[in-house]
Subunit: 404 residues, 4 copies
């Protein structure tokens, strides 16, 4: 076992990370710095201070990172219309790089030589945290208790907590039927009751959205304004990035939008069933494609589409801080200069319907050329004959050869 | 102008292709063979016989191609989860290659030296028809009246029709507010009233689907069975490919599923606004991804995803009969061997929700490994440390270099 | 025929463009502005002035563009290790965008409404010129005499020249056995005597390089210094971009380096046989890969390799001024920040052998980790077991499934 | 430590695998099956039998796999013009899957529950072997002594050998200045004296090829005949796959062809310097591109080029037996149906020059269309205008928008 002086723990204040905190103190005999962040998970973070103090922690970091999270992580990702395996909006994946970065920054600030997280040894999150740590601070020590300790079952963990005097709430004793993770982009549900992909989850599982059946009978219309590919206003009101996403979550959730139930391929090699609620993100994806549809050059759009799955896999697999992700981001961001304008969507019982889009400054939709009516010579129909003939030439030569 | 002996015309029996028929006879002084196919557009094709006879046509081909269309074109395309520009299900694009192929076959059978179609000079369809013709019969003459004649407006066309004694129905005089195209996969609407992408289409435009608001208040559940990536049964009933799609259209339409309103990039260079109804296709896309999610290897799935936009563009651009499309198809089809099993979807007011999926024979979802519970050693958590360490190595070396 | 006021002609001063000049004056009754550039083709450009004056041209542009050509076109292209169809170094393709850009700039400066070029209707160059024109000035008129006139054979052109009093040299009467094009990057040979790809070209064809057999018996060593992916010095001497390429051409040519004889696929649809001499470019490609091999991250290098064929095709097809090429360039250029250091090559009878490479500031080659000897713990061998196990997991699950 | 009954060892008969054999017997107390294959490494394999018997081995497998190696591994790989990182011909990578497959087959035949190899913990070969084992036999035990034992230096290994009575030759005592690996496709040199990429290797290192300087002063011409992308005859003589490669190695080596000195990126994360001799492979790559240049459709060729780096990385990283490599192979093989004909190359002092290529049955080079002379209407120059106009349209609309 490495000799550790001080470690920065991503600390939620909940049972699991409390056990980890205690275990780190006992096992490594090292100082622990706690780091608790609000990234929109919907729980108070201030109570974590008192909990940390109970363990004698002296360096306690409690931070509201919501704006940074949306501005520097969520928005850049949505510029690429990012979707993993055709459906997953990467809500968990995109939060890890920020946490990892802040842990390293805090380690530097506090002179810590290690960082710790509460992710298990089977999931993607351990990879995302640790690739971030190593990319930013190559000589950092990483402590991943779930891969090291012998608390391999819920029972053992509860016994340990009890022994150590860590308070256990009733619901924690029973255990949750799912493993959950939340931030301003989504909530995820995995494991336990969801482990049979042939069975639908119970309605009671979902937290942020009503079922489409329970959504209002009246549709709601929403105007979304874009600058350089990012949303800057909703219904005419300028909003900060985090406020945009919070508002979209509220509207989407109200209208039953953004539930997803899928089986995905983890980077560590197995298939896994996950359920996700991403109300705001689901609206953002549709609307961003719509604003791009009139402001982006065709080949630029296709280049982005061709590279999107690769970009999505990089984020899913934890390579946010890699040079290749950053390089792709340069290109994606470069494409968004002209992505300005507005999109109108209709929200209704699970549906996000685009019903209008325009850009005063950057629309490439040219009604004079697109028209089915007489275009007064803007487009020469005869050009199409030559276009087709030369595009067909290689196939004609080949077929003539086969026929000869 | 080329000297033409005989041409095979794709003939719907409607006003436009009747004018074309007459114009071909007058202009080229050639024999015309008419070809009318049922590909599920929802109109009787038999009446085309009488209409053709009125023009003195001797060789009249009237064929039901619905099964061939779905089996050999639609199903192969859906094996790739094909979507153009993130949203369009390629309903028009996929029908053209079949029409082109049959026209060439009929040209060979009847000794014709030319083929003709009624697509305009601004659209994609002329390209799709003609690339097909040329690829299959390199020395064929192609007559594209819309690029050649001077009937450049609706009025001129109506005057010509009147002069030639071609019967004009009242609604044709008024002109449709949209250009429409239908087959078993979809209906498309383009042009005229749709030429402003800032404006939503009128509700009355849609033909196959009710609005989500008008759909039943009760959801409907559907079991979809797959063999080798194709649907073979619905709710336990074995169905032919065309019957599958017809049934899915009926169910989807009933539940307000599959409407799409978008701006797309045409191959001939301009942006174009299109509205589409693809009720069955929309269900198929979701369900196919779901069955693949448990039966396809991760890297195979990702390879397919990486190549999908390219494959979609080939079909959109008219390259169905190209060697590169056929080669990609080989790979796509090869991936579907293991895509067997069932998917359960819930249809409700515009939503297609996957609520279960399984495969007795081919599921790669291994609950013993995926479980959050104790897996009794099926997966060694310690392996993850090495996995992360080596994946991080190149980034650590680079960062250490920068720090040095 | 369009009514033209003034056209800017890319004018070499040779027979063909002289005939074009005269033909433009006669046919379009328009003013002609001549533009003659030195891009390293190895011929004097100043004589073009007197020739233009003979035709009464008043606006004559004669410019040395060699530095701009290498700095802004050749070097950026080599940053991507660009090769078309595995072999061709794009010597002709890369010069066209610069010519097109200057023609448009001159058209703006002189109030011309048209531009003209001397490329034929079968080749790629017409496409490269005209896509450039249109991208930079969408309403420009393009006059492509070879697609318009009836001087469709050498004889007709000579007769026309004679009639118009255009001086014809003896060698022009005989006609060249090849069509040639030269600039600082290469000479190309096409057509006529080369039209049978089964036959090798005659030794006498090659202009810039000796045959490997005729090259010196002694090898020559060359040190190449890179900054941000571009060559800045040779054998310790700082040189401008054009001077770098001129020097490499001289060295490469002397040692029989850079001849190529191939069949390529033109954008306009047919296969074409071309022979190329690219002495300096051949050295640059090998050396650039060598400096990248120690300074570029693995995944960045692979991303570049994956996109290179697409980037090469964009340049070959004439899309230099397209938004997608510019976006790819952003990414390529972004990758070169760390590409600093030196490469040593040995030149000998057609061979370019890399015999050393290093980077004081940016080498990612870490001998402590790469070593076969004891690395004192820099790399933990046991990590490899976990790395392999998790990478194998999906295949193990699948194979176990098949065996079950 | 796992309890092992019987393991199949890849056994060369040399010092290292002899030590491993003994170590396996001692450490695991298990039976060892030896497997020695001739894949063209140029050493007798029969002596391995006696050596194995000295250790009391009862099940000894000695096999000549040269034809299988070239036919089923080397040739399929060359159909894709496979090159890793722009230069490396994958000589080592391509041999491992065959060894892995035979070890697993032998394990099944002999009832062994484990397999062992002599690859180190830092290299790619351990990955290639083990991914193969696991993909083919998911429950196999893998013993990788170099990752397990404490013989971490040459000295310790020699002491162990001495103690165990394993005969040590003089040259082994001194240690080789390089780590070498050979098969019918290449020899590789790595490590020790090569660990400084700024320094060229000594001339005495190279085994299979003379230096270009030492090659004959007379060039040699070679006719290569292809069927379906594979070489079937040299200079008119039909030859088996292994005989083809052996002959090409002999010719290439004689003419100083196929030496390579590079720095590559290993899958396990570090950069590594390698020197390679691939005389026959170097000829094959050039010649295969040449035959494809006249027989392959442009877009098929480009699709192959776009996917080649991915295919190469799969082989380099050890994924030969993965479903994605097999799927790509299907596509690659499918493209080779028309790759029939001959190529003539000139071999001279390190150069492979293609000087002719033709295909009686499948050439797509059409001199009537490619000609610079009058083509009698085979190609309509006017078509190019429309082709260019429509390809430029999107850029014109965008530029007009920017100007407005």
């Amino acid at each position: 076992m490495d000799k550790i002086k001080k470690t920065v723990l991503a600390f939620s204040g909940g049972l699991d990370t409390s056990v980890i905190l205690k275990w780190l103190q006992d096992t490594y005999q090292c100082e622990v710095v706690t780091f608790t962040a609000d990234i929109g998970q919907g729980e108070e973070i201030e109570p974590a201070r008192a909990k940390a103090k109970q363990f004698g922690i002296k360096e306690i970091f409690i931070e509201d990172l919501r704006e940074e999270f949306v501005r520097d992580y969520v928005f850049p990702m949505f510029r690429a219309n990012t979707v993993y395996e055709g459906e997953y909006l990467l809500g968990t994946s995109i939060a890890r790089p920020l946490i990892a970065k802040r842990q390293i920054e805090i380690a530097r600030a506090t002179g810590a030589d290690a960082v710790s997280h509460g992710a298990t040894g089977k999931g993607n999150d351990q990879v995302r945290f640790e690739l971030g740590y190593y990319a930013l601070q190559p000589d950092i020590h990483v402590i991943a208790p779930w891969r090291e300790w012998d608390l391999t079952s819920r029972e053992k963990l509860l016994i340990y907590a009890e022994k150590q005097g860590i308070p256990i709430e009733m619901k924690q004793k029973q255990g949750s039927p799912y493993s959950m993770d939340a931030n301003l982009l989504h909530i995820s549900y995995e494991g336990r009751a969801l482990e049979d992909p042939a069975q639908a989850p119970e309605e009671s599982m979902w937290r942020w959205s009503v079922a489409p059946e329970a959504a209002p009978d009246e549709p709601e219309y929403l105007d979304i304004e874009y600058e350089h590919g990012d949303i800057v206003a909703l219904n005419g009101e300028k909003l900060s990035p985090a406020a945009v996403l919070a508002k979209l979550n509220q509207l989407g959730g109200k209208h039953g939008i953004g539930r997803l139930d899928l089986v995905e391929n983890r980077y560590v090699g197995m298939k896994s069933r996950g359920c996700y609620e991403t109300p705001g993100g689901t609206i953002m994806l549709r609307a961003h494609r719509a604003i791009e549809s009139i402001t982006l050059d065709r080949e630029v759009a296709h280049l982005k589409d061709d590279l999107m799955p690769r970009y999505a896999a990089l984020i899913y697999n934890g390579y946010w801080w890699s040079p290749e992700r950053k390089l792709l981001q340069t290109m994606i961001d470069g494409s968004q200069t002209s992505v300005n304008g507005w999109v109108r969507v209709k929200l209704y019982k699970g549906n996000v319907m685009v019903i209008g889009r325009d850009s005063k400054t950057d629309s490439l939709f040219d009604p004079n050329i697109a028209t089915f009516e007489d275009d007064e010579g803007a487009y020469n129909h005869a050009d199409a004959a030559g276009f087709i003939k030369l595009n067909a030439l290689r196939m004609r030569i080949a077929q003539a050869r086969r026929n000869s």
